[in-house]
């Protein structure tokens, strides 16, 4: 009759921003996909940390609808190729750095080292991600894209496939499994069970398709939260390599139910970024110099951080 041995403890995935990026993001990655959409739920602290640590990405998947994350990464010269579904600021305007990078080409190469812009669309990118998450080699596309300039503009991204059932032809995109996926959940337990307090956007699918998934959260909650409301878990923990708690970490984008996007700061950035010098100055002041989120928050103007409150469940 042997003694009862205690169960070894389950390992927490809680990690600091610095450590998560240093340990899980290679110096050069094949591809990056940043979650959230437009000016919402974008894990900006992780993005800023990637820039601080000079992580390079051969391909950035910018869609559905990316904004400042893409703009900053491109401006910092860390992106070689962007698959562009949408990069902009919705009603606030176009992406100043992305614009300049493309409009001021020198010998076909964008001034900041962005070598290629692949014209794409959100639907095809999401179907490619769905295929990646399902282990499918490629995704055949619904009919109609042949009516646009896209297939001709991006012959490497869109290819013709023969439909073995109808005998007709269709366009297809190759499956996408981003090497690095950065996502944001408002809440998560220490094991990575993430809860979306607002829109999930594309992030559950992104977590299923990503090879290395880092989750930035506003607030840690007890594992009991997940056990009491399992249907509320938007991202199951086993998909997540690290849980990174950062207060106001999505700023200047929103974190649904926690805070709205800061359009004062976004405009401050967009105005600064109108010129190369202005962008470099912004990058230094708000991304490279602040050693942590506290310092970043201190430098941000026009803020009533105190007004942020925990979301009620």
């Amino acid at each position: 009759m042997e003694a009862v041995t205690p169960t070894p403890a389950r390992t927490s995935k809680v990690t600091s921003v610095e450590e998560a990026v240093a340990r899980l993001v290679p110096d050069t990655s094949e591809s990056l996909w940043v979650g959230g959409m437009h000016m919402h739920n974008v894990p900006m602290s992780l993005v800023r940390e990637c820039i601080r640590q000079g992580k390079r990405f051969e391909t950035l998947y910018a869609g559905p609808s990316s904004s400042m994350a893409a703009d900053l990464l491109i401006g910092a010269g860390l992106v070689e190729r962007v698959v562009c579904g949408y990069i902009g600021y919705e009603h606030m305007g176009l992406a100043p750095v992305f614009r300049r990078a493309v409009e001021e080409r020198i010998d076909g190469v964008e001034s900041v080292g962005l070598r290629e812009v692949v014209e794409a669309d959100s639907g095809s990118m999401v179907l490619a991600l769905q295929a990646g998450a399902s282990g499918q080699p490629f995704a055949a596309l619904p009919p109609g894209l042949g009516n646009t300039s896209l297939p001709a503009a991006s012959p490497s991204f869109y290819r013709v496939v023969r439909n073995p059932f109808a005998g007709t032809e269709a366009l297809a995109v190759e499956a996408i499994r981003p090497s690095v996926a950065l996502i944001h959940c408002q809440q998560a337990d220490e094991f990575g069970n993430g809860i979306f307090k607002g829109s999930p956007f594309t992030d559950r699918l992104l977590a299923l398709a990503g090879r290395t998934v880092i989750m930035q959260v506003e607030q840690l909650v007890d594992n009991d939260q997940a056990l009491r409301y399992p249907a509320q878990t938007g991202v199951p923990g086993f998909l997540v390599a690290a849980v990174v708690p950062v207060t106001f970490g999505c700023h200047p984008t929103s974190s649904h139910r926690y805070y709205n996007y800061d359009d004062v700061h976004l405009r401050l950035y967009m105005q600064a970024a109108e010129t190369r010098e202005g962008f470099e100055q912004y990058l230094a002041e708000y991304v490279l110099q602040p050693e942590d989120q506290e310092e970043y928050m201190r430098r941000v103007q026009n803020q009533d951080w105190g007004a942020m409150r925990e979301s009620d469940t």
Partner: protein
Amino acid sequence: MSDDYKPVLRPGSDPLVFFPLPGADQQAEIAKGHIMACAIAHALEDGELVVMGANSLLPMAAARLAQQTHAPNLTIIAGASGGVNTLVEPLVPSSGDYANLVAEAVLQFPEVLMLQMSGHADAFFAGGLQVDRHGNCNLAYVGEAAHPTLRGPGSAGVPWAQQSARTILYTTSHTRRVFVPKVDFVSYPGWNAPTHSAQRGGPHLVVTPLAVMDFSDSGEMRLASLHTGVSLEQVRENTGFDLVLPEGDVPTTPEPSTLELRLLRQMDPDALLTVVV
């Protein structure tokens, strides 16, 4: 954007709201935004499913207005947020805003695209850097691919609008820069698209700050009505191609009714519709 910013609380939205309330003092006037929203609302039918794209302040107001007037069974999908039948309390400028989740259901964004791509939607709303005489829209770039003079955001979900029964085009700037004879890049195909089984319904209506346009049987953009105080000359000067003219006099776009104005102002406490144009 003024610097003397003050955070403002609003119902159904977030504790912090960073944009001020422009035009809150202009409640009195009927703004272009009101006229445009009504023109779009009138083009939506009861029982239809409409999907919003990005920057959808006007179509969102229009769809909610239609729902509150003649189309109670209209289903609204609030674009990026995935909100289904959002109450639009209040109207917000970003399609991904949490305020749009005061709704009956929340779709993951891939599901929103699936609905578009599979042809579930009756109407989708599009615009772009350029719109041409056949209703082609361009969101990619102006100029040549190698040396664009203007880099746009990209085509996003707009190519799939063609799977909707019809597409309603709208823009807040009616200029020759936007209305060009031929777009430099086709993000959304107009009526001159190569015949294609996929072309379920082409561009249906074009709503601008100056006028409302539809398309002739040959698929050319046609002036349908001029907004109050706008002259045909004004529209001609700001359109980069010859619009087909209707038979007889050009009608005036109907002004919003008392009810329509009340509803639009109810859903729009920040009076964004008065400053959107």
